[in-house]
């Protein structure tokens, strides 16, 4: 399993970000570098979960508006600033699903799907059939579980980052994923 290295933020970078945040709390215009840096990752996070490009851009903008509004509440907890933004994004996206202004979409790539099937032990024969069963099984997963699978296999995020976004520990993220894979495996077998 390969994971994105973009998340690995050094302490020096975090300190630098904190200085920007401190300045932005006094003058919102100082927030610009963080906006430039995180606009694309946040957009991709949102667009991964929906099928409407324009709505994704709107939501991304809304995330940063909310971030600026609530910046005074932000407290450093030893995790990158991006995690805080992702949590706002998550909240905005799920609010949009709740309002039914967006349709929950799972965007998968065949590579990620293959990796997921490998993890469930179903990758070998009849890939096409397994793929279909898997997609059916994924629709059965609770939203919380689906998020973990999505972040791990289709966004290639490290467990550490998944933990930070979901506000759980890295180990907890691993255990969760293990249990979800077991569930998926059972479901795929029952589909056969």
């Amino acid at each position: 399993m390969t994971t994105s290295s973009a998340h690995h933020v050094s302490m020096a970078t975090m300190e630098q970000e904190l200085r920007v945040i401190a300045a932005a709390k006094k003058d919102p215009e100082a927030f610009a570098p963080l906006y430039e840096k995180y606009h694309e990752p946040i957009f991709r996070y949102i667009y991964q979960r929906c099928d409407d490009k324009e709505a994704a851009f709107d939501l991304t903008q809304q995330v940063f508006v909310k971030a600026l509004i609530h910046l005074h509440k932000y407290r450093f907890k030893g995790v990158p600033f991006a995690s805080w933004l992702y949590r706002i994004a998550k909240s905005e996206v799920y609010q949009a699903f709740k309002d039914q202004s967006l349709t929950r979409t799972l965007n998968v790539d065949l590579e990620g799907l293959k990796e997921l099937l490998q993890e469930t032990g179903e990758a070998d024969q009849a890939f096409l059939k397994s793929e279909k069963s898997l997609t059916i099984c994924m629709t059965e997963l609770p939203e919380a579980d689906l998020q973990v699978v999505e972040m791990r296999f289709f966004e290639s995020r490290a467990f550490k980052e998944i933990g930070e976004i979901l506000d759980i520990t890295e180990n907890n993220a691993k255990v969760k994923l293990y249990r979800i894979l077991e569930k998926l495996k059972k479901c795929i077998l029952s589909q056969k």
């Binding site: 610009a32 991709r44 508006v65 600026l68 998968v108 065949l110 890939f127």
Partner: protein
């Protein structure tokens, strides 16, 4: 119950450049600043509130003692959130016209149909636009004089030439054509050609809207829609929405509007109707059929619908109901039970004795590889999807491909395994709950409409308020383009005479003009006829018993007219009839002057 989840495989990604092009920190800053503090936390709020109350009391006393003249600017209104936009709604107050682009520039497109006449000297009045300046970074709405409410979603415009999305302040130019005289003065055709038939439209409300930024013409961004609540005094629901294609001078059918009563005792059925248009609301859809009872053990094949969230809202009363296939209906094959259908529609059969259930979706089908290949272009993406991204699939004789499938069966909705009294009680409970839901939503809609109306009417004097409350309705529709939009219906002809007219001026000379326009005083339309010879006009349809005026804009730009009293004296026959027109010099200074003259005939 399965959750609603769409799965895309290998969707095309977006490039970083494309994403970077949409970055706009300025907009974020503007929105954040606008919403930074809740109003009650701002400095001076308490003081301001007290001052406001005192001012309001003084205004109230003043208002009670002396009626105010009608205001032409809109009263500020905060709309309830009815869309899926995220930015807060903003009140828009129109700016002074003098700060905006010059009227005549704006009117060039509108007056195209009268190009020939307009080039002649002296003819210039036109229906004026009202200008609204809106901040397009946020959702905005404005109320036009007369009561029309226009809602503009955030960031919904781009430049016509470069297709560049615009933010910040945008000028909206808006005008309405309230009656046949407005339509005539603006030179708008009401002819409607459909399937070779030449018909005339009559209007229940027509408006034109345009957008500009720094004088540059704008268009609506694809996917965004402006919601129009067009104030009208015609409450009939037999009207459609048309848009005028200016170059071809053709009205294009765009769908149907919804009518909402906005008086203080609203029409319940039309309010309900509007509610049904709301995508988030449950819809009645098809007729609700009672399940049949009681259920006997039947050998007939049956099935149960597992409804998704959306379908459940539409048909809550079918939740838990089995459908039993009618004798003679096509059977459902075993494999079809495994399909997740994309769509299902339910409607009564033509004899209304049971229901037609139609499923559409895709099914995996085994086909010969060679046959399939011969039908397809050699597209690598398709190969990847069909063969699972490897080349081993190329060796298979048969491959699996998804194919569209439609299944239509006739079935009875039935409850299974319960006694009949329980079944019917359940059924009525579910239908009752659903109707209560509809009524509640309709009540909210009415309340919102009344609030908007009261806010609007609050800025007007009592007589006008009463008049509007008695007569007005909203005709509601959404538009995705700027231009001239019209709620129309085909003018249904009464017994008519077909005559050919020869127009002459007071001196007996043939009259030349680009078209003859007839205005029936009881129809909101202009009936236009075109010349085919020296002063002779094509065969026109008239009703001799109606009150009708004739108008022609002459070559000099003057107005040739025939008053209703003179019309009544015309000798209608099969022969070409001479019509002596009067001439009024076009020295009108405004459209209102011209209209007053025409109406006074």
């Amino acid at each position: 119950m399965k959750k609603k989840l769409k799965i895309n495989i290998d969707r095309a990604g977006l490039s970083s450049q494309e994403i970077a092009a949409r970055r706009n920190f300025e907009t974020v800053l503007v929105q954040a600043r606008a919403a930074k503090k809740p109003f009650y936390a701002k400095q001076g709020f308490i003081g301001g509130l007290l001052a406001g109350i005192i001012l309001a009391l003084l205004c109230y006393r003043f208002y009670k003692s002396e009626p105010k003249p009608v205001q032409t600017l809109v009263a500020p209104v905060v709309m309830e959130d009815s869309t899926a936009n995220f930015a807060p709604k903003k009140v828009v107050v129109p700016d002074k016209p003098k700060e905006l682009p010059v009227d005549s520039v704006v009117n060039v497109q509108i007056l195209k149909p009268l190009k020939k006449a307009l080039k002649t000297k002296g003819f210039s009045p036109d229906i004026p636009f009202t200008f609204y300046r809106v901040n397009t970074n946020q959702v905005s709405s404005f109320i036009h004089k007369g009561g029309t409410i226009v809602e503009l979603p955030a960031l919904s415009f781009r430049t016509v030439n470069e297709k560049r999305p615009v933010s910040g302040l945008v000028d909206i130019h808006y005008r309405e054509f309230k009656d046949a005289y407005d339509i005539l003065i603006a030179g708008i055709t009401m002819k409607y050609d459909t399937a070779g038939q030449k018909l005339h439209l009559q209007s229940a409300g027509m408006m034109e809207i345009k957008g500009f930024q720094d004088g540059e013409a704008l268009e609506v961004v694809p996917g965004k829609k402006l919601k129009i609540r067009l104030a009208s005094d015609i409450s009939s629901t037999d009207y459609n929405v048309y848009k005028l294609d200016v170059p071809s001078q053709q009205w294009l059918y765009k769908g149907k509007d919804t009518v909402i009563g906005i008086n203080l005792q609203p029409r319940q059925e039309v309010a309900m109707d509007n509610f049904l248009n709301d995508a988030s609301a449950p819809t009645l859809g098809e007729e609700i059929l009672k399940p049949i009872l009681p259920i006997k053990k039947s050998k007939a094949q049956n099935f149960k619908l597992v409804l998704g969230d959306k379908a459940k809202k539409k048909w809550p009363y079918y939740d838990g109901i089995y459908f039993e296939l009618r004798a003679g209906s096509s059977k459902i094959k075993k494999e079809l039970y495994q399909i997740l259908w994309k769509d299902v529609s339910i409607s009564p059969t033509h004899d209304s004795t049971c229901m037609k259930v139609r499923f559409t979706g895709k099914i995996d089908k085994q086909v010969k590889r060679t046959e399939w290949l011969s039908k397809q272009k050699k597209d690598s993406t398709k190969f990847k999807n069909i063969f699972g991204g490897n080349s081993t699939g190329f060796n298979k004789k048969y491959i699996t491909v998804p194919e569209d499938i439609v299944l239509e069966v006739e079935a009875y909705p039935v409850y299974s395994g319960k006694d009949s009294a329980y079944v019917m009680a359940q059924y009525y409970k579910q239908v009752g709950a659903y109707k209560a839901l509809l009524e509640e939503a309709a009540r909210k809609q009415r309340s919102r409409d009344s609030m908007l109306f009261r806010q609007f009417a609050g800025s007007r004097n009592l007589n006008e308020k009463q008049k509007l409350a008695r007569e007005q309705v909203f005709r509601v529709f959404s538009i995705s383009e700027f231009g001239i939009w019209n709620c129309d219906q085909i003018y249904k002809t009464k017994p008519l005479a077909q005559v050919t007219v020869q127009l002459i001026d007071p001196s007996g000379m043939a009259l030349k003009g680009d078209r003859l326009s007839l205005i029936y005083h009881n129809v909101r339309s202009v009936f236009s006829y075109y010349p085919f010879g020296e002063g002779a006009y094509e065969q026109i349809s008239v009703n001799p018993s109606e009150k009708v005026s004739f108008f022609v804009i002459t070559e000099n730009g003057d107005i040739a007219y025939l008053a209703p009293d003179d019309y009544a004296k015309l000798p209608f026959s099969d022969q070409k009839i001479p019509v002596r027109m009067n001439i009024r010099k076009n020295d009108f200074t405004s459209a209102e002057d011209m209209k007053a003259f025409m109406m006074g005939l």
